[in-house]
């Protein structure tokens, strides 16, 4: 009790720093948004503009929007017409993905793990909030568990896991295709699901990943070809690159659908999805070739000379000396091209495939959902954005991981 007067007295004596220094957030806001005076003006204007835009949007989103169109058609949007009794295969592939991702993160990432919390929480939140059937909820609930178990395993055996995790990623996509497509006849354990019922996000994913996997090596070869000493190789590469870059992707997709069969014997029919993949790969490879060439041009002649002087042949020189440096320098452009590819897969809707955009259009064609364009397009935009962002984020991580020790 006797302390009270004393503290009161000393409190009065102490000169407190101004509020902007006592509260860090307030200080930051003041320093960055309100000084000097014209910054304050800009801040107020920006906030006003944001308010003018956000309020009507929020009003619409919360009161008028008919989100049930998304909820009811969610399955269609994500997996198209994939047969219900085979959906476990898609789930299995998602679980494997979570497992491999968990292993990767567990064995390599040390700092900033809190960022994984929302990713782990999302499936549970979805399972609780959305009106799914029991099986879907069970799968959603299991997903974070699979990821966490893999994470722990990855961390425990990190030396061993880190060495092999790349291999797991390499076999993941073939495994995914195997699961989605199937192997056996109707009555077997993994019946073939024909590609004409593939659709939605699954199809978009297939087109994107296949596009990336095949266009990249072809692009690298074309870039090397364009710099080759052999005139025939050089001219073939130049002609290919310049021809393809002069034609819009839609045109190439149409040609792949209509003209590809002309080049094949009449008893060989190739599937429409495969034709689309071929079109996307041929198109992207030409652009990636130029991106890679940009990286190659930045490598000094001294690097080639040092490699040759050591007795390396040109394949070894490119493989061990030139490409690792050239590709690392152009990671942002390469990934930018892959993000473009991912979004451009939506053009296959024009040639009649039911990818995310194609399905969205067919949903909108149902009489019950006329006038719900905003909801549907907003939803698929969010999905496009989400995965684009993931790619861009991963590319930044990759750059950091590979940049170690450089200059």
């Amino acid at each position: 009790m006797s302390l009270r007067p004393a503290t009161a007295a000393s409190k009065a004596d102490v000169v407190l720093p101004p509020p902007t220094e006592r509260y860090p957030l307030l200080g930051w806001v003041w320093k960055h948004l309100f000084t000097p005076w014209h910054n304050a003006l800009l801040t107020v204007l920006a906030l006003g503009l944001l308010y003018l835009l956000a309020v009507p949007f929020a009003q619409w989103a919360l009161t008028q929007a008919r989100w049930e169109v998304v909820v009811v058609n969610l399955r269609l949007l994500l997996i198209g017409q994939y047969p219900l009794e085979q959906v476990w295969r898609l789930w299995l592939s998602v679980h494997v993905l979570a497992f491999v991702a968990g292993l990767t993160i567990g064995s390599t990432v040390r700092a900033g793990l809190w960022r994984a919390v929302p990713i782990l929480a999302a499936p549970w939140a979805l399972a609780l909030v959305a009106d799914f059937d029991l099986a879907t909820r069970a799968h959603l609930g299991a997903l974070p568990v699979v990821g966490l178990v893999a994470f722990v395993l990855g961390r425990l055996g990190h030396v061993y896991v880190r060495r092999h995790v790349i291999g797991l990623w390499v076999i993941y996509f073939p495994l995914f295709i195997l699961l989605v497509r199937g192997l056996t006849a109707e009555e077997g354990w993994l019946p073939v699901v024909p590609t004409n019922v593939w659709g939605g996000l699954v199809l978009t994913f297939v087109l994107t990943v296949a596009g990336i996997i095949f266009s990249f090596p072809i692009g690298v070869l074309l870039a090397l070809g364009r710099r080759s000493n052999l005139p025939l190789v050089r001219w073939a590469s130049v002609v290919y690159i310049e021809l393809v870059r002069g034609v819009p992707l839609v045109t190439i997709l149409f040609m792949a659908q209509i003209m590809l069969p002309l080049f094949l014997p009449s008893n060989v029919t190739i599937d429409r999805v495969l034709r689309a993949v071929v079109g996307i790969v041929l198109f992207t490879a030409a652009y990636q070739a130029e991106n890679v060439r940009g990286g190659l041009q930045a490598i000094s002649r001294g690097q080639y000379e040092a490699a040759y002087a050591l007795g390396l042949n040109s394949l070894q020189t490119n493989l061990f000396i030139i490409l690792p440096q050239a590709l690392r320098n152009v990671i942002p452009v390469l990934v930018g091209q892959f993000i473009a590819l991912y979004k451009d897969t939506s053009l296959v809707a024009i040639v009649g495939l039911l990818d995310l955009l194609g399905i969205a259009k067919s949903v909108l064609a149902q009489p019950a959902y006329i006038g719900t364009q905003r909801e549907v397009y907003l939803f698929i935009s969010a999905i496009y954005w989400l995965f684009s962002y993931v790619m861009s984020y991963l590319s930044q991580r990759l750059e950091k991981a590979l940049g170690v020790g450089e200059r």
């Binding site: 690097q303 000379e305 040092a306 002087a309 050591l310 390396l312 070894q316 440096q325 020790g405």
Partner: protein, 247 residues
Amino acid sequence: MSDSPIIVCRDVHKWYGHFHALRGINMEVQKGEVVVIFGPSGSGKSTFIRTINRLEEHQRGQIIVDGIELTRDIRNIEAIRREVGMVFQQFNLFPHLTVLQNITLAPIQVRKWPKEKAEALAMQLLDRVGIPEQAHKYPGQLSGGQQQRVAIARALAMQPKIMLFDEPTSALDPEMIKEVLDVMVELARSGMTMLVVTHEMGFARAVADRMYFFDKGQIVESGTPDEIFNNPKEDRTKLFLSQILSH
């Protein structure tokens, strides 16, 4: 056979377009000899030394290295490159590989050595050039002198019979020149056949067996260091030596 020269150049010519860069170079180098090449800028020193491992193609004359003639045949070229190491003015280390990986890459990929064997030799060589503690750093983390010593170790890792040096110290700060020259002197005394383009006359005096003065794509004069420094015959040699020795 033991006294047949390990490098023979007969009337070697080279043109860059219309520019006649090498105008009939004749040279014989014996096993274990240290040859210093010097001369004014643009006289063709680099061009010449680079024809010996085919970084530049000669257009007339003959170059025979360790009994193999350099022709368009890629097998001959690769065979000679395995026996000839080279050290560049700009180091040209591989920046994306560690020091150890820089040194072991060629033995593993070209000589097909197991990794352990290549690494053991690499550590031995790093010891020899005086920087064993830098093995796991990247080139960008080293000083110029250290980088050049790594470059020497990298070339030696292929166990070459001949080493080519193209102005190995001229991109270095003065205080680093000595550490590189010391390594080269030790290498010369160990019996390595060396062709060195340099203006470090102290190095030439100490270890060179023969010196060649290049000007305008030709050999103007050659001789032992004693003959060149104390008794040069050509006026151009005298003039050039007086210029570089006056610094």
